[in-house]
Amino acid sequence: MSKPRRDVFVLLVLSAYILAIGVTFVRVYVYHAYPIYSSQEEMPNIAEQLRTLIYWPLL
């Protein structure tokens, strides 16, 4: 009995979500790695956020 192909795809999406949520969980609850801003000026702008996104594998 061969399993339908869609199961593989569902498993892939599910694993990606578990991994992403797992990493977020560790970042938030274990390392508390998030800033607390008391004003908008302190926030990174979109350019800074994009830079983080592009260079994240090097971080």
Partner: protein, 541 residues
Amino acid sequence: MMCEWDTAQFLIFSGNGEPLIYYSHVTSILIFVALLGFTFRRLKEWPKNSFRLIAFGYIVWLFCDLILWANENIDHVIFFWTVLSMVEPLIFIGAYAYFLQFTKNKPLSLQVKWFFFILLIPTLVMGPLGLTVIGFDFSDCDRNAWEGIGVYYGYFVEALLLLLIIVKTVVRLVYTKDNLERIKLSMVSLGICLLFIGFLVANFLATFTGDYVTSQYGHVAVPIFAAFLAYITIKYESFEPRILLIDTLVVALFILLSSLLFVDNASYQIYANIMAFIIMIPLGYTLVTGIRKEVRTRKQLQQLTGELEVTNERQEVLMHFIGHEVKGTLAKDSGVFAAISEGDLGPVPEAIKTFVDRALVESRVGASSVENILKASNLKKGSVTYTKEPFDLKELVAGVVEKVKVMAEQKGLALIFTAEEAGALYTINGDKAKLGDNVFRNLVENSINYTPTGSVAVSLKKENGKFIFAVKDTGIGITEEDKQRLFTEGGHGKDSQKVNAHSTGYGLFIAKQITEANGGTIRAESEGEGKGSTFTVEFPV
């Protein structure tokens, strides 16, 4: 900064959120759970998965949102806000997949699945990197997080999918010719768009109005539209717009009335609402069941009509076959009887010749009857062709009268033919042979057959731009009852077979069909039983 926050119990119970938040979120979660249970058994495998994705995604989203409303813990706010933002595109992907599966009526292709996965990758990367929720906002006591480009990307995915649904719907509506398919498509697209809009209203209305509480009603609308979608899918095979419309109307009225019970505080208004709600239950039930019954009956009737048409067609073919066989046999018999009677096979004793002559007449009459039935059948099917050419009507009628003169003489009837001078020839354009045999001869012979004593007067005149042919007899006449079925297929007069045993009832039907096919009209008049009758045929000059 000192903020007065309640400490949440079990993540979601605190005084930090308005009671309406619990009402909208918990109600929606419960409706979705019920829908999942209900649709699990009723939906097909492939739209079921998409529906499952919408339902699970939305339940997770609502649960995370409830935690955010109730919680004061910064870790919880950051974490659940991120999860909520990562799950949101998944709900929209589920809705789009549902749209694709429903409209194409097949499971998703691998390419589409990969397209979905690629769309999700940025969301799945930006969430853990802290680009979806970039930090906690401590500028006030609202317990908000700062949203980053991950959230904007989510909006982009939602807008893209909504746009794709609208474009695909419009394109398919343009190219689909089937009206029922168009209605189905419009319904599903409308359901999905309303589901999207319900969600967006709940999320963004507050941003513009500042009323975060009332906007939560949008969350109750979402499972209602999801239920609408599931309903359409279940009804897909037996889709009936009238049933769908009436069901939707009744459910909408129920929702409206039940929500009024919770919203209105004036006591007299509540009593009125309760009364309306109670009245609505039997009325709604009667309306829905009544319409369903009517639609079902109509469908059965359509099916039976279709079956009847097929049966009629088969019967017609069978009758044609039998008719031809019988006609062939009778024609052969006539040939044999004629040969015997005329002495071709040797001398025949007088006693036998009398029988043979009678048999010859009977078989000729029989063959003529069968031929009439076959002609009527061909006329009904429209398979008769006409060779039209100009000819002199007066000459044709005079010839017919001449041919049947012997018949009248044998019965002792006076057969009179008069034709007014028209100043020109009685020239008409038509099928001379068919009009001569099946109309004029048939009418004159009929008059002779149904006139025991007296006379048959055939006349031809030109009046009011018409050529008028008439046969007037002093025969048995026509009752009012007989007039109704005179020109119908097989339409005998009530006592016609007592006078003419060989009447098939097809002669006048054939005469009418041929007259009308040649641009004329035919009618019969009689003052009643025993008072004679007049058959009139008119052709435009």
